[in-house]
Symmetry: D3
Subunit: 67 residues, 6 copies
Amino acid sequence: MPYVNIKITNEGATKQQKSELVAGVTELLSKLPGKNPATTVVVIDEVETDNWGIGGELVTERRKRGS
Amino acid sequence: MPYVNIKITNEGATKQQKSELVAGVTELLSKLPGKNPATTVVVIDEVETDNWGIGGELVTERRKRGS
Amino acid sequence: MPYVNIKITNEGATKQQKSELVAGVTELLSKLPGKNPATTVVVIDEVETDNWGIGGELVTERRKRGS
Amino acid sequence: MPYVNIKITNEGATKQQKSELVAGVTELLSKLPGKNPATTVVVIDEVETDNWGIGGELVTERRKRGS
Amino acid sequence: MPYVNIKITNEGATKQQKSELVAGVTELLSKLPGKNPATTVVVIDEVETDNWGIGGELVTERRKRGS
Amino acid sequence: MPYVNIKITNEGATKQQKSELVAGVTELLSKLPGKNPATTVVVIDEVETDNWGIGGELVTERRKRGS
């Protein structure tokens, strides 16, 4: 029954990678008490780099500097 | 003053359906103590089926199997 | 399969009221295409009035003024 | 280390405005105890007006009425 | 740089289990393009069973019935 | 009309600091197009350090090491 929301920058994760991420997170959660994998929900939000800031700066700008 | 976030897979909800959902949820919340419908906010996120997992599997794959 | 997160100030909602809210929201969502009530999840967060701001002011302060 | 999620309607915020918002919020949070600006994350979600309700009504409809 | 929010019912996850969950999720995310484990954030919300609904019913009630 | 959710570790933010944070964030958002401070909502979640991971490790453990 857990619910997981994963936010990542939109930088080319493939469907295969997302599929493996969902399977992996669901398995990890099944180790906790009372968590049913059948109803575990994982939602992935892919966010534009113009809409993600870290360290007070947009990721778009950081990428331009190579970091 | 409540805030509601609804996440659904992006599978064809119409504007009319979303309008009725917002009206209905706002009315339900107005029955709780101290909740003002005028400032109740409802945000709907429509998520691609490639980005939604349940039971360890992407919804895209489930839909292919007919479930 | 929808996921709903409801945030309200912690001002005395009873278990009965929360039960009715969960039932009502789940029913509203079942009217959308492809939404299965059996796996619809509703999570209610009750937030202290010191941790909720509206109009630039904590709710705790607004309540003192009677609004 | 704080995490901030800002949801706004998608009504023309520029990259420059988002950049200033990220910088400003990060600075505000650095005034709290134990918060490191270098790892402060700010994610901005821009939401279609058809998917945002307030007062029981979609923002799309409110905008048509001029409010 | 990913951000992960995990919501689970408050049913006795230990600190050790939470520590392993954080380590495991962070490792899974490091397999995606451009994701730095050093700044990956995982926040766990433990929610009372009175505040979690599934299938239109509070988890508290489901647990009483043994499901 | 924006909605802001701020997640911080629970390490002693005072009511005064939270009040200033709410006022500051609301003012910053009022600079964006079409954002009304009167209906801007800010919700602060204070999270136990056992429930917050960064770099694959719980904050509780990092604090013990002095970082």
